[in-house]
Point group: C2
DNA sequence: TTTATTAAAGATATTTAGGTCTTTATTGCG
DNA sequence: CGCAATAAAGACCTAAATATCTTTAATAAA
């Protein structure tokens, strides 16, 4: 569904959120450990997220990644997916056509479109904060050691 | 969602169904043209589908691909996806964990699981025949030249 | 039986996603 | 200032998905 890279990106942002709730400013190594992903790959992904201004970074001693003060508006998973997968992600044809077109539908369209839409709505509803809160409440986990 | 290969596989089978309704026994070149996919790649995919006995092939003059007489039980899209993507396809974690586990859920689980299940049900409901019928009725198309 | 036609098989090539390494720039601390 | 710690940047590497090429085997028609 989502690419591994996008999954890492979402998990990494949640890691930053959880760390900052504890007054920390994590670096990419901390994040990578948190989410059980390759350090250097996480570093690359953080570069992308920073470039797209989903969060800030500072280099040097005491540096790391953090959300800005004007982080009033939530980061929706939709935003992350949009950045990592491109806007076409939300309108792909389930049958493999270049575009979805309800006026010239593939034979899966009528069934597939509502499912794709439900997933889009999920991504427009859930935020980095909402995921972090679930984890903080113990309702979910950020990574699993076993299986 | 589905890999390109799986999409080709489904479309190829629908092409065989539509051709055989017209009394034809298509070869991989005909199929490739029907579904607008690379000939040799389609050939490879047909080999896989034949190996898994979703349909039969004969070589030589007048040869091609066709469904057997005991083709009473429908071919569900679920079967095709199972063959092409593996059984783990239907139980993947939307957050990137190795497995989905409701007892130790990721923060997307509660929202994601129903969507994944809806898609699985779609694949268990729709068949190669049902897709072919939609196309035959003019309700959908097998490929699109433009966009 | 020869030939044309077709799929199977296997090797190879290309592209994309995923991942690593090295160097440079920035920052804070002693 | 000089050093240690950190992210950025870019080159590079690896693995998987996608695609192609070549040879072989099977079949039917002439
Ligand atoms: S045309 Fe295929 S999903 Fe809409
Ligand atoms: S644990 Fe992630 S979807 Fe079930």
């Amino acid at each position: 569904m989502l690419s591994k890279t996008t999954e890492y990106a979402i998990r990494a942002l949640v890691s930053v959120e959880l760390n900052s709730r504890k007054g920390q400013r994590p670096g990419f190594k901390t994040i990578a450990r948190d989410i059980d992903a390759p350090e250097q790959y996480v570093a690359k992904i953080m570069q992308t997220l920073t470039r797209f201004k989903l969060l800030k970074s500072v280099r040097g001693r005491g540096g790391g990644f953090f959300f800005t003060e004007d982080y009033q508006q939530d980061i929706f998973l939709y935003d992350v997916v949009w950045i990592m997968e491109g806007k076409t992600f939300f309108t792909r044809c389930g049958f493999g056509f270049k575009h979805c077109d309800a006026n010239n539908p593939c034979p899966l369209h009528n069934e597939y479109e509502p499912i794709r839409e439900a997933f889009t709505q999920l991504l427009k509803k859930e935020t980095i904060r909402s995921l972090a809160t679930k984890i903080e409440k113990g309702e979910a986990v950020l990574s699993r050691l076993s299986v």
